[in-house]
Every structure is written in structure tokens, then in C-alpha cells.
């Protein structure tokens, strides 16, 4: 394009569209942060038996990964003890429920609680988001509100000119709807500045965290008995080696130059 397009914009566009959208977006972020802080239910204490089950499992996993730290006889003792107790279900939180298979997640009140918490968080995000989207669509759609100070390739047209159906408009012009999306995705640093780094203001980052958390929250816990049996099998096949084997030679070799 030889000469830059000139569009005469009413300066009121800046004061009545660009600024309000930005301010509203920042405010909703802050509102969402405080709302989710309020809605957050404190994590419930787990019953002692459940805790013991989890940590025992962790202990045998520790033995499985760090067995090289202890001598063969010490390892053998621990292995036998752990395998025997795991097979007998001594670590299980609920020994009576052995062999009954996976419990239904819907029947577990603790699980329901967790799901309610997640629902609350989701609602706190979805409601303001759709409200603002509707507000912008109703009042401001179709406006070109600003011009970027740098040139861009035409691929950005979709991103920057949503809601404006002109083919020949220079990509540097940004429509109001696109400005909304840009602020939606780009305000995280602003929230970090205002609310501190572990805020709950931005929904996008939260959604990302949720999708990483695990594909299926409904699937819930595996059957602990199966986990213990698998752990026992894993322990059984370990071929022990000792980290202290030959350590004196390694050390001497390392300090050879130093002496």
C-alpha cells in the first residue's frame, strides 16, 4: 500500500469506547479475583486413615526410587515388610471395602464438595465474561476505534478487525470487539501489578491450569487396593544396587588434583 489510509475518527470514540472497555475489563478482573477468593472453600482436612493410606503409598514409591541410598540388607527388610503389608491391605483407609472395586464418585460427599467448588469457580468466570461480551456486542460493535503505530501483515486482519466487514481496510485499524479480545488475553501483567502474582483475575490462565490438572475430575480416585498391589509388584522386581559401592574410589578420583 503506497500511502497510508486516512480515516477521520471522532475523538469521542477514544473517550467513550476505548477507555470504557479497558477500564471495565480491568475492573472485572479485579472483581473476579475477589469473588473467587470469597467463593473459595477452605480445603477440607482429610481423615487420618486416608492420609495414612496416601502417605504409605508415597513411602513405598520413595523406596522404589531411592533404594540405592540404603544397603541391600536394609532394603530387603523394608521391601518384605512393605510388600507383605500392602498385600494384606494393612495400609488401606477402609479395609472392609476391599475387593468392592471403584466407588462411585457421585456418592462420595467429599468428591461432591470438590466438584461444587469447581462449579462455583467456573460460574464466577463465565457470567461476567458473557455479560461483557453481550454488552460490547450490543453497544460498540462495528466501530473502528484505534490505529496501531506499526504495520502488520494481512494475517492479523481476523484478529484485529472482528466485527468490521471491510476488505480493504488497513490491518492497523483495530475494531472494538477485537480490542475486547486483546484486553481479555493481555491484561495478566496489569493484574499482577495490582493484585500480586498469584491472583485469580484472569480466566484464561485459570482455564489452562484446569485443563492441565487432569483430564477427568469425575473419574476420581483409583481403587487404592489396586495401587498398592501395583506398588508391591514394582518393588518385587527391583534389582538392588548400592550407591556407596565404590564411593571411596570415586571420591579419590575427584579430589586427585586437589591433594
Amino acid at each position: 500500500m503506497a500511502e497510508a489510509q486516512q480515516i477521520l475518527r471522532d475523538p469521542a470514540l477514544f473517550y467513550w469506547i476505548l477507555l470504557p472497555i479497558t477500564v471495565v475489563m480491568v475492573l472485572t478482573g479485579i472483581l473476579r479475583h475477589y469473588l473467587s477468593t470469597l467463593l473459595q472453600s477452605a480445603p477440607k482436612r482429610q481423615p487420618l486413615a486416608k492420609l495414612r493410606e496416601q502417605r504409605s503409598l508415597l513411602r513405598s514409591a520413595n523406596l522404589r526410587t531411592n533404594y540405592a541410598q540404603i544397603s541391600a540388607s536394609a532394603f530387603q527388610k523394608r521391601r518384605e515388610w512393605l510388600i507383605e503389608n500392602a498385600r494384606d491391605g494393612k495400609f488401606l483407609a477402609d479395609p472392609d471395602a476391599r475387593g468392592k472395586g471403584k466407588p462411585n464418585p457421585m456418592s462420595d460427599p467429599a468428591m461432591m464438595e470438590g466438584m461444587m467448588g469447581m462449579m462455583k469457580g467456573n460460574v464466577a468466570m463465565m457470567v461476567p465474561q458473557s455479560l461483557i461480551m453481550g454488552w460490547i456486542n450490543a453497544f460498540f460493535s462495528g466501530y473502528v476505534i484505534m490505529k496501531l503505530p506499526f504495520p502488520l501483515t494481512p494475517q492479523f486482519k481476523q484478529m484485529l478487525q472482528a466485527g468490521v466487514g471491510t476488505r480493504d481496510l488497513d490491518v492497523r485499524w483495530v475494531s472494538s470487539l477485537s480490542w475486547y479480545f486483546l484486553t481479555l488475553f493481555g491484561l495478566q501483567p496489569v493484574y499482577n501489578f495490582i493484585l500480586g502474582s498469584n491472583n485469580a483475575a484472569n480466566q484464561v490462565t485459570q482455564q489452562m491450569a484446569q485443563s492441565q490438572m487432569g483430564a477427568n475430575p469425575m473419574g476420581g480416585a483409583e481403587d487404592p487396593e489396586k495401587l498398592f498391589n501395583a506398588e508391591a509388584e514394582n518393588l518385587e522386581v527391583i534389582e538392588h544396587y548400592y550407591i556407596l559401592d565404590g564411593v571411596e574410589d570415586r571420591l579419590l578420583e575427584r579430589f586427585q588434583g586437589a591433594i
Binding site: 479485579i30 475477589y34 482436612r45 482429610q46 481423615p47 487420618l48 492420609l51 495414612r52 502417605r55 504409605s56 508415597l58 513411602r59 520413595n62 523406596l63 531411592n66 533404594y67 540405592a68 541410598q69 540404603i70 544397603s71 541391600a72 540388607s73 536394609a74 530387603q76 495490582i194 493484585l195 500480586g196 491472583n199 538392588h240 548400592y242 550407591i243 556407596l244 559401592d245 564411593v247 571411596e248 574410589d249 570415586r250 571420591l251 579419590l252 575427584r254 579430589f255 586437589a258 591433594i259
Partner: protein
């Protein structure tokens, strides 16, 4: 070096504790600046929270308790309670700690203990309080009760390295070396790269070797020596590691020279234990430890940069060990 206000309080020496407690009142007044005095709706837009802030409060609290500045400690505790609420596990433990520290006599301490037990009766999952209870029992001299408390705790939470290490320590004071060794091994299973724990286990093994004789003693001594070696492999200039290595190799040389039995050349396949080290290697390790100790003492005393983190008492002990050695040669 890192900011001492943020470091774990257990690491700090008495000098830094005094330093910290002197800073405490200035820190507390610095926290109430104009930022936190903003009226309510506007204060929503400003964040005065950070993890460092509360970590600092906790460390100052502990430092003040150590130096006897109970009033400042109480001020820190108040802000922590205001922020996190009375029911918070950590705050509850800190409150207990404050009561313990200000208890004037045995009976007041027993009162604190009774409070802990009541709290645990209503909710046995507050692990911080269970640990405090074990600590109080220990400081009251009821070692066997403390051991029971810790073994119960560890049955329910067997991945707690802190508790295992404390239990090992308790067993050690009782002289039950086997149990102590077991506990420290358990710590290593949780934290395999902690060189201080490797050396600690080496120390316990060295102590335990005094009880045995003959082949068993040699086995334990060489195991102890290897523990120290591993510790040094993980941390080159660890003073305690070098100190222990020197001690144990000296002892091992004596044992090796007196033992008539021909050395087993290979490791014992049934028990899976390692063969005792060759005399040559032990000698070399002894030399290595001696020269390293001398280097550390020399550099630390001349205050070289990067060598000034050693505790003064340990340096003195190392020097004393070295002096003992030279006297022997002169004779």
C-alpha cells in the same frame, strides 16, 4: 548470601538470631506505611501481600523468642494470627511455641502439654501440634513418651523427614543405635541428596561401631566411612563430612592393621554387603580429609571470601583434631 530474614530459622546461628531480633521492631513499623492505610474501597486495588512478608514475620518471631524478646515476638504472632486466623495449623503451632517459650516452670509447661493433648483429642490431624507435643515431651525429659508420640505420628505419616530425623536423634540419646540408623536411613529415602543427613548417618554408624568387635566392627566402620564419602561427594567442602572421614579412617586403619583375618576380596553375596575397603584407599582418604580440613581451617581463619560460612565452634573442633594429630607425630 541470601537474605537472612527469609532463610529457614533452624539454619541461623545465635549471632544472626540476635541481629534479626534487633531488626524486628524497625521491620514491623516499616510494614505500616501509607500504603496499608488506604481506606476500604480503594484498598482493594492495592496488594500488600507477599509470601516473603509472612515468612519474614515468622522468622522474626522465632528469632525474637530465641533472644528472649518476648514482646516483639508477641507482636509478630499477633499479625500472623490476624492474617491467617486462629485455626491455621501453622499459627496454632506458633502460638504453642510462644506459650512454651514463656512458660516459667515445669507446671506451666505441663499445662501447655495438656492443651496440646486436648486439641489433638478433638482433631488428631493437626500434625504441627503433634510435632510440638513430641518436642515438649522431649524437652521435659520424657524421652520414651516422645519416642512413642513420634512413632505414632510416623505410622500415620511415614513421609515426614523432619519427624524421622527427630526420632533418630531421640533413639541416639537413648543409645539404641540400630533404631537410630533405621530412622536416618528412612530420612535418606525421602531426601536422597541431603549431604548433611548422609554425614549424620555416618556419625551414628561410627558411634555404633564402638559397641561391636571383629568383623562386624570393620563392616560398620567401612559403611560409616562410605557414608562420609558420599556426603563429600555431594558437597565438597562439608566440614563435618571431612571431620568424620578423618576420624573414621583413623579408626579403620587401626582396626585393619590389628585384624589377623585375611581380607575378603569380594563382597559377600548372601548378605549383599560391600567388601571392606583396601588399606591403601583408606590411607589416601585419611590424607585427603586431613589436607581438606587444614585447608578449611586455614582459609576460614584468614577470612577468605566464600569460606566464611563455617560455624566457629566447628572450626575450633577441626583445628583441635588436627593438632592432636601433629602431637602424635612429634612424639
Amino acid at each position: 548470601m541470601a537474605n537472612p530474614l527469609l532463610e529457614a530459622p533452624s539454619k541461623s546461628s545465635p549471632e544472626t538470631a540476635i541481629d534479626l531480633s534487633q531488626q524486628a521492631s524497625t521491620f514491623i513499623t516499616s510494614q505500616s506505611s501509607w500504603l496499608s492505610a488506604i481506606p476500604y474501597p480503594l484498598s482493594l486495588f492495592i496488594n500488600t501481600e507477599s509470601q516473603e512478608k509472612w515468612q519474614t514475620y515468622e522468622n522474626l518471631f522465632l528469632a525474637c523468642l530465641r533472644t528472649g524478646d518476648d514482646n516483639t515476638a508477641y507482636a509478630c504472632l499477633e499479625s500472623l494470627t490476624d492474617r491467617f486466623g486462629k485455626g491455621n495449623d501453622r499459627v496454632v503451632a506458633l502460638q504453642g511455641l510462644y506459650k512454651e517459650a514463656t512458660a516459667k516452670n515445669e507446671s506451666e509447661l505441663a499445662e501447655v502439654l495438656r492443651e496440646y493433648e486436648e486439641m489433638l483429642k478433638s482433631d488428631p490431624t493437626i500434625f504441627s501440634i503433634r510435632k510440638r507435643r513430641a518436642a515438649v515431651l522431649r524437652s521435659m525429659g520424657k524421652t520414651s513418651d516422645a519416642v512413642t508420640a513420634l512413632t505414632n505420628l510416623l505410622d500415620q505419616s511415614p513421609t515426614d523427614a523432619e519427624a524421622w530425623s527427630e526420632l533418630g536423634d531421640l533413639y541416639l540419646t537413648q543409645g539404641s543405635y540400630d533404631q537410630a540408623i533405621f530412622s536416618f536411613e528412612e530420612v535418606l529415602l525421602i531426601m536422597p541428596y541431603s549431604w548433611n543427613m548422609q554425614a549424620r548417618l555416618g556419625e551414628v554408624l561410627y558411634l555404633a561401631s564402638g559397641r561391636t568387635e571383629g568383623g562386624d566392627q570393620m563392616k560398620i566402620l567401612s559403611e560409616s566411612m562410605r557414608r562420609f564419602c558420599r556426603s563429600l561427594e555431594l558437597c565438597d567442602d562439608y566440614l563435618r563430612g571431612h571431620y568424620g572421614l578423618k576420624l573414621v579412617t583413623t579408626r579403620l586403619l587401626e582396626v585393619l592393621s590389628t585384624s589377623k583375618k585375611p581380607q575378603q576380596s569380594s563382597s559377600d553375596p548372601v548378605r549383599g554387603d560391600l567388601a571392606p575397603p583396601s588399606v591403601d584407599a583408606v590411607k589416601k582418604l585419611n590424607e585427603l580429609a586431613t589436607s581438606k580440613l587444614a585447608e578449611i581451617v586455614r582459609r576460614s581463619n584468614s577470612g577468605e571470601k566464600g569460606w566464611d560460612g563455617y560455624s566457629a565452634a566447628e572450626i575450633i573442633a577441626a583445628r583441635e583434631l588436627l593438632d592432636r594429630d601433629t602431637q602424635k607425630i612429634e612424639r
